[in-house]
């Protein structure tokens, strides 16, 4: 049961959505953008989220794009994760989103919803961080394209009323050697103890991590450690661990120490796998 009443709006254009947000805010309302709705339902029912107006972005064509041209891949923020899987355009992202929630939920959870959500794992952002993708943001001057690194720092950094419309990823990255490993508390379901996405770009290893801290991140210090040429995979992993941001999560999924143990092994495995690939 959602313990509050709210109005539902279904705009058909980016402008309409943006203006709705502002006119509702000016009228003293507390609007939120809505795509899959899973967080609004699950956090709403336990009083961790409140709204009196939801603006559904799914009716906006730009938010539903899945298109590859000669140079770039464009993915709409309102694509359900299952649609991202089925489009088969971005292999690392496909593997990454397949590990989020379960199939039934992924029919609802959207790409933008996962990246911009309150639930802090936001795993779907990792492939975009690794590929230095751009985000198309709707704002007061219409659409603008910004580097992900300027608009995503632990969470999406948007002005009130702005929203994520699309992601733009360079085509070259799509074929980069990559891996996505999600390690859970036990077996196949649940939140990550850690999720690590990795890719080789220009002979350098890029790494993005979710589940270790209460935010996903890509760290250049960590990557520098992992690309340290003189060290063995174990030593690189060890060095990388010393550069992790704080705080390390300590919760019902895993203790902080265990998370670091799992991360170190996962990083070592990735390094070994890519090393083997380099030799070939």
């Amino acid at each position: 049961m959602i313990p509050f009443d709210f109005d539902y709006f279904n705009p058909e254009t980016v402008q309409e959505a943006y203006h709705l947000y502002h006119s509702l805010t000016e009228a003293g309302r507390e609007p939120v953008y809505f795509s899959g709705g899973t967080e609004i339902i699950t956090l709403g029912r336990i009083h961790q989220l409140y709204t009196d107006a939801v603006i559904d972005l799914k009716g906006i064509p730009e938010c539903r794009t899945a298109q590859l041209d000669d140079e770039h891949l464009y993915l709409g923020a309102a694509l359900p994760l299952t649609a991202v899987e089925e489009a088969r355009l971005f292999p690392l992202l496909m593997k990454n989103v397949k590990e989020i929630a379960d199939h039934t939920a992924r029919e609802k959870v959207t790409l933008g919803g996962n990246i911009c959500g309150n639930i802090f794992y936001r795993e779907a952002v990792l492939p975009f961080l690794l590929s230095d993708s751009s985000f198309v943001i709707a704002g007061k001057d219409g659409l603008k394209v910004q580097s992900i690194h300027d608009v995503f720092e632990e969470h999406i950094q948007l002005a009130p009323g702005e929203f994520l419309v699309q992601t733009i990823t360079e085509k070259n990255f799509l074929t980069a050697p990559h891996v996505n490993i999600k390690r859970k508390r036990q077996w196949d379901t649940g939140y990550p103890v850690v999720t690590v996405a990795a890719a080789i770009v220009g002979r350098r290893l890029r790494i993005g991590i979710s589940g270790l801290c209460p935010f996903p991140f890509r760290s250049y210090e960590v990557e520098a450690a992992l690309n340290e040429p003189a060290l063995s995979p174990e030593q690189k992993a060890e060095l990388a661990i010393s550069h992790m941001p704080a705080p390390i999560l300590n919760d019902s999924e895993a203790s902080a120490e265990y998370r670091l143990f799992v991360l170190k092994n996962t990083l070592t495995d990735i390094l070994v796998a890519f090393e083997g690939m380099g030799r070939r």
Partner: protein, 776 residues
């Protein structure tokens, strides 16, 4: 006609898969008022003040109830107010109850109740609770009113103490050449049934109280409400529609009391109380935890001689069923082995955890986890094959149980046969690790299990058969259909007995305590034995009536008549007879004269020759039979990461007689799956203040369908002569040995004793790290 053993599809199957089956909270009539509970945010605290002013002022709020004036409740010890007053003793405990005209208002107002607390030191485990300096959770447990049989210890956190003294433990140790000691720990967890708990209550003008509840124990609700609130028992009428999974959790009475109080506060109007998933996990009774120490002794040849055992059951904040759980744990305190000298102290101990309900197996899977771990540790020390070790000591007819019952083939079945079949099925390799690759090993772990059901000696079950004019039969039994298909099996028992088409038996699925004969509780794998016997008795009664009527009409002795195929006929001339439909509503002669009347069969069953336990030695006959089994869990462990996969789960169970093959298979594999989830992942996680950190299915995760391994099940059939067609219980048995078998496999694979649940990779990593630290 062979109906027994056939996989008859359960009667309610289509309604369930098509969403037509009705459950308690499906009552959405607009006249129903809605109740909501306010729960404690502390695990242990004094209540300084409860401010309900703001909540009461919300338009649409009809009543706000707090605890001070309420009577003490509890099944064996009355130690719990339905709403906490003075003190809260667990996180999630109900503190106030609101009634409003719609659920939104109730929820909104509940958020406005302000409770001021003064935190108290928190007791986190039964081991901590028995320390000399432990805070007392109840100041003096001895002062509470209690039933005979509950045995608390004054000025301690112990609310029940059961002793088992068999043989002479000193002699046992003298005869033992090799010994081991195992300490195990199981934190509390939950049943996590699909349907969260709900109840409605209404008090009629004539004083009748109508309760509908998602309960396994409608007759117990009636009895307990009568006792707690001094109401004539006949005035309380309890209905149970379908129940969406019980697993024991719905055998405790909690939300019904609150629903009754809510109705009472609004002049008897009908009120519904529905727990959210969070409340179902935190507020409602949970799955018991256990701390245990087992010392085992044997000869060098592996002949068990002595078992010295201490069980500390985690009673949580209140005693309720924990008293009984700790007693059941004492009754079958060992595994199913012939041990001459047994000494066991079993305690139920207050902590600041939720208090337990029964849980599938009623203390047995927990006790067996401890005991079967010790068995493997001893086998290792003796350098004996753990399966051969179990076979050598397996309990047999002629042996005695811990409570000194002398067994026979009917009461104990055939454990050696279970073990022999298991050995063959799993291609037993001695439990040695097989290397799969550099990091991964595959290991088979085994465990034996047994279970008797220590339900009260005078537990009853009744059945009524009413005939329809077409000769078909309505079967009415007090068993609640909680998803086990028991009611379909009862129809099979009846069809077999009357040698008729099971399709002509109509089963009443709901229970209404005013018109349905009592079945004590739908728990303890006792549905088929007790209700089955009642159905057989009712069938005998109907047969007498049918034969009497037919004898009169056919002018033959009733001794010459036979009943089969919905007919009564002369044994020698089958064509001379009457169809049921000709006599079901009396017989009418051609001239219009009529005799007889509707055929109504009735039957009852009461447990035979059960006894209370002797206070000093525990000697006594606590239940009718032991179902025995042997189980194997095969795993592959990554020795670096300590992640593992369960490859297959195997159970060979002496089922006495399989009554419905697929239903039995479903029960056994379902139980194994639950055992794997309980052992491998499910547990409550509490923080240092005793607050539950995972009160949602996001974070408290039962097994996902795709996580299940391959299941193999085989049934040995050694009849329990007292039971319908020899059947033993099958509802719980598949779970019992699973946690121990999993731990036994993982302990070998990880190379360290794993004696704590849940067996997550992190638990194994910790155990390994601890061992390495101590080796340094």
């Amino acid at each position: 006609m062979e109906i027994i053993g056939k996989s008859v599809i359960r009667r309610e199957a289509l309604d369930k898969v098509r969403g037509r089956a009705v459950y308690t909270s499906d009552d959405t009539s607009s006249s129903v008022l809605h109740a909501k509970i306010v729960t404690s945010t502390f695990a242990h605290a004094n209540i300084i003040a409860v401010d309900v002013e703001k909540a009461s002022a919300v338009p649409g709020v009809l009543a706000v109830i707090t605890g001070e004036q309420l009577p003490l409740t509890g099944e064996e010890i009355r130690d719990r107010r339905p709403l906490a007053a003075d003190k809260v003793r667990y996180y999630g405990e109900a503190v106030a109850l609101l009634v409003a005209d719609n659920p939104h208002t109730a929820a909104k107002a509940a958020a406005l109740v302000h409770v001021e607390y003064e935190p108290l030191p928190v007791v986190h485990s039964p081991t901590d609770a028995i320390r000399k300096d432990a805070p007392l959770i109840h100041e003096n447990v001895d002062e509470y009113e209690r039933e005979e049989g509950a045995d608390p210890i004054t000025f301690t956190n112990i609310n029940n103490y059961t002793k088992i003294r068999k043989g002479n433990i000193e002699a046992g140790w003298r005869e033992s050449e090799v010994t081991v000691e195992a300490s195990v720990s199981i934190p509390p967890s939950d049943h996590a049934a699909m349907e969260t708990r709900a109840a409605t209550a209404e008090i009629m003008e004539n004083g009748e109280i109508h309760i509908t509840s998602s309960s396994q124990a409608p007759f117990m609700i009636k009895r307990l409400l009568s006792t707690y609130f001094d109401i004539d028992v006949g005035k309380i009428i309890v209905n149970t529609p379908f129940v969406g999974g019980g697993y024991g959790g719905k055998a405790s009475v909690q939300q019904e009391i609150l629903a009754y109080l809510a109705a009472k506060a609004v002049d008897g109007r009908k009120v519904k109380l529905e727990y959210s998933r969070e409340q179902d996990l935190t507020t409602a009774p949970c799955h018991v935890g256990l701390d245990a120490t087992i010392k085992l002794g044997s000869t060098k040849e592996g002949c068990l001689k002595a078992a010295e055992i201490v069980y500390l059951f985690d009673s949580g904040a209140y005693s309720d069923k924990a008293v009984h759980l700790s007693r059941a744990g004492a009754v079958d305190c060992t595994g199913p082995y012939d041990i001459e000298h047994i000494w066991c102290d079993s305690y139920s101990v207050y902590t600041n955890h939720p208090y337990p309900a029964p849980y599938r197996g009623f203390a047995h899977s927990e006790v067996l986890f401890a005991f079967e771990r010790a068995m493997n540790m001893l086998a290792e020390k003796l350098e004996i094959d753990p399966l051969e070790f179990r076979l050598k000591n397996a309990i047999l007819p002629g042996h005695t149980t811990p409570t000194q019952v002398v067994l026979n083939r009917s009461t104990v079945g055939d454990l050696p046969e279970c073990l022999r079949r298991l050995k063959k099925m799993i291609h037993w390799d001695g439990g040695k690790p097989t290397r799969i690759n550099e990091r991964t090993v595959r290991v088979k772990g085994i465990s034996c299990a047994w279970k008797n059901s220590t339900i009260p000696p005078d537990s009853i079950s009744g059945a009524i058969l009413t005939f329809n004019e077409d000769g078909s039969i309505n079967l009415i039994s007090g068993v609640v259909e909680i998803g086990t298909a028991t009611k379909t099996v009862l129809a099979q028992i009846l069809a077999e007995k009357l040698q008729m088409d099971v399709g002509n038996i109509h089963v009443k699925m709901t229970v209404d305590t005013q018109t349905t004969p009592e079945h004590w509780k739908t728990v303890a794998s006792r549905g088929t034995l007790m209700a089955g016997r009642a159905v057989l008795a009712a069938a005998d009664d109907a047969i007498v009536q049918l034969k009497n009527a037919a004898a009169c009409v056919l002018r033959v002795s009733k001794d010459d008549l036979v009943v089969a195929n919905s007919r009564v006929f002369v044994r020698e001339e089958p064509e001379r007879g009457l169809d049921f439909k000709e006599i079901a509503y009396g017989y009418q002669y051609p001239n219009g004269n009529a005799v007889g009347g509707q055929i109504i069969g009735r039957g009852t069953y009461i447990q035979r020759n059960m006894t209370h336990l002797d206070k000093e030695t525990g000697a006594g006959r606590p239940g009718p039979e032991w179902a025995v089994s042997a189980q194997c869990i095969e795993i592959e462990l990554d020795q670096r990461d300590f992640t593992y996969k369960v490859v297959r789960a195997v159970c060979v169970l002496d089922a006495g007689r399989v009554l419905n093959e697929k239903a039995a298979w479903g029960q056994v594999t379902g139980a194994m799956s639950m055992g794997l989830a309980f052992a491998g992942r499910e547990t409550f996680v509490f923080d240092e203040k005793g607050r539950m950190m995972n009160p949602q299915l996001r974070t408290y995760r039962p097994m996902h369908y795709k996580e299940n391994p391959r299941y193999l099940v085989d049934f040995v059939e050694t009849p329990h002569l007292e039971a319908p067609y020899g059947a033993r219980g099958v509802g719980e048995q598949g779970l019992l040995g699973v946690p121990a078998a999993l731990a036994n496999a993982l302990s070998v694979a990880a190379g360290t004793a794993l004696n704590r649940l849940p067996l997550t990779p992190e638990t194994i990593w910790r155990a390994k790290a601890k061992e390495e630290a101590s080796n340094r």
